[in-house]
Symmetry: C2
Subunit: 335 residues, 2 copies
């Protein structure tokens, strides 16, 4: 137990217990038939040596590592960490070990990220819609089952789950117009993001259908700072918008700060602000943000079910889930 000594192996245990090494292995394998006496002796020896089977060696023969590659983008902003946290806890509870793969949100997976995949992961789960299509293709070529969050993809052997962004955007457009807003602006997120493409397009289209085209458009990057900066610009001129829909909550917080602190506007009296995601902070009194709820807990539960199903049946037809978001009304918008 000095920590200097190497870890005990099945052979060490076998020797101490006076049995064969295969017997030791069986004692640690679910559903192997071992006599009670054998089991007791092996367990005692294992205990004395602090023996635990080497998962790496085991995986070599079972061809299952129980390792799941989790591709993550940046954890900045309040949304991603919560998703990541929920997902990794769920994986752990199901006996899967999350092996982190850092994906550069803008570009393809670099070499170091690919290296993670040499660990024979049973599957790869992508947790960020910002991962590029090119990266997705690289991952698909790997052979391991691929599961995507935040991007709706129709391809063989690829399952995906993605909030129904168009629906969310339409809910906002309708509510804003119904409440009498006449000068509506949109602040989009990173243009390469799948969610941005869906939200921006749907918002624009729905507004047009309602006969109330956008009066101003900004381009942010889903970060607070860009929300602050772009809002300053969008709200500065004459003919100020009376409503601003932001591509996510983080930018909406920036918009709120810019509007109230820098521009001295009253929210929602002079300006309605709406976000997307409904992160926990959105409910804080400082913000009381009206927003579209992206149901993370439901999403993660489904995502994990998709994984189990895919692992159980690699040949099953691909699945695409699009859970519907709902509009959460708080104080930041006059609705």
């Amino acid at each position: 137990m000095t920590g200097e000594r190497r870890r005990a192996t099945a052979v060490d245990v076998a020797r101490l217990a006076g049995v064969s090494q295969s017997a030791v292995s069986r004692c640690f394998t679910e559903g192997s038939s071992v006599s009670a006496e054998m089991r007791a002796r092996v367990q005692e020896a294992a205990r004395r040596l602090s023996y635990r089977p080497n998962a790496i060696a085991r995986s070599l023969t079972t061809r299952r590592t129980n390792l799941v590659g989790v591709v993550m983008g940046d954890l900045d902003g309040p949304f991603q960490p919560y998703l990541f946290e929920t997902l990794t806890r769920g994986l752990a509870m199901r006996g899967k070990q999350p092996l982190l793969v850092r994906g550069d949100p803008a570009n393809a997976l670099d070499g170091t990220a690919m290296a993670a995949l040499d660990y024979q992961v049973d599957a790869v789960m992508v947790t960020a819609g910002s991962v590029s299509p090119r990266t997705i293709r690289g991952l698909m070529a790997l052979g391991a089952p691929l599961l995507l969050y935040g991007r709706a993809v129709e391809a063989d052997r690829v399952d995906s789950i993605c909030c129904d962004n168009p629906l969310g955007a339409r809910l906002v457009a309708r509510a804003l117009v119904a409440a009498g807003h006449r000068r509506i602006a949109y602040l989009g997120g990173r243009p390469t993001a799948f969610s941005e493409q869906e939200r921006g397009t749907a918002f624009r289209t729905e507004l047009a259908d309602l006969g109330m085209p956008l009066v101003a458009v900004g381009e942010g990057d889903y970060g607070y700072d860009s929300g602050y900066r772009e809002s300053l610009r969008l709200l500065a001129g004459p003919d100020r918008p009376d409503a601003l829909f932001c591509g996510n909550d983080a930018m909406a917080f920036g918009a709120l700060d810019a509007a109230r602190t820098a521009l001295g506007l009253r929210v929602p009296e002079e300006l309605s602000i709406v976000g997307f995601d409904d992160v926990p902070m959105a409910a804080w009194p400082s913000f009381a943000l009206t927003t579209v709820r992206n149901p993370v807990d439901d999403i993660v539960a489904i995502f994990l079910d998709m994984l189990e199903r895919r692992l159980a049946d690699p040949g099953a037809p691909p699945v695409l889930h699009r859970p519907p978001p709902v509009l959460v009304r708080r104080g930041s918008a006059r609705l």
Copy 2:
């Protein structure tokens, strides 16, 4: 390339290239002597088969997995995600694969977490000061080098790095008293957390030394909600405090919201609020939080250096770093 076929192995490549399997291995091993012609043939064959060495199998003989267990607590709050993000990116850049170990912040590592350690990680890095001493002991018994963030531990084969919490608390106490505050309150975080113990004790002691004992004390859990709730209580009575030091930024945000929104207090005119950590949000105009900066980037850089050093020399004497924090003055405190 159908994805159905198993991944190519070194034997497949050897066959295609017409060389021995050992030769293939050498071509993928740093510093092995291979002729240019051999290398070319092998590389061509490998390319055609999309061959990449199996890292799992490799680790079995090299006795190095390049896997680093990263023990994380909850990713709620704005501080942990940033630390986690910075650390995992640093590991990836150094060719280490982060294997996530979910630690229950309150209790010992449960079975599923221990299972992660059967993957023969080269080292274990703990990223949360909230991990219990009992868990730490369990990890120490594992034999793998252990590196701790957020808890100062003196033990053999354990390196640790931890912000100088007592110094941070003292800075706040002195600044508050010097600015003329006379009714100072403290809102602590989770009592079992190492940081809480250090910060609370030092703040109390320093204040006593300055002849200005605490007038009120609250107990939170480092979360926004507890900051809000406890502040309501601390600030409700007569003899309201004129300054409130919170154990971290998240609670300070809750305190700010409670003071301004629920109690209608003017900050900092009627009440000074100070946090700890200096998360990015602390600089947002909504909060403009005066706080103690916990230098994450520096900490992670040192943490990673400690890892490299420990891996290079397992017998090196243990190291304990205590980077000094600084007080960041913004609008939430009259200093």
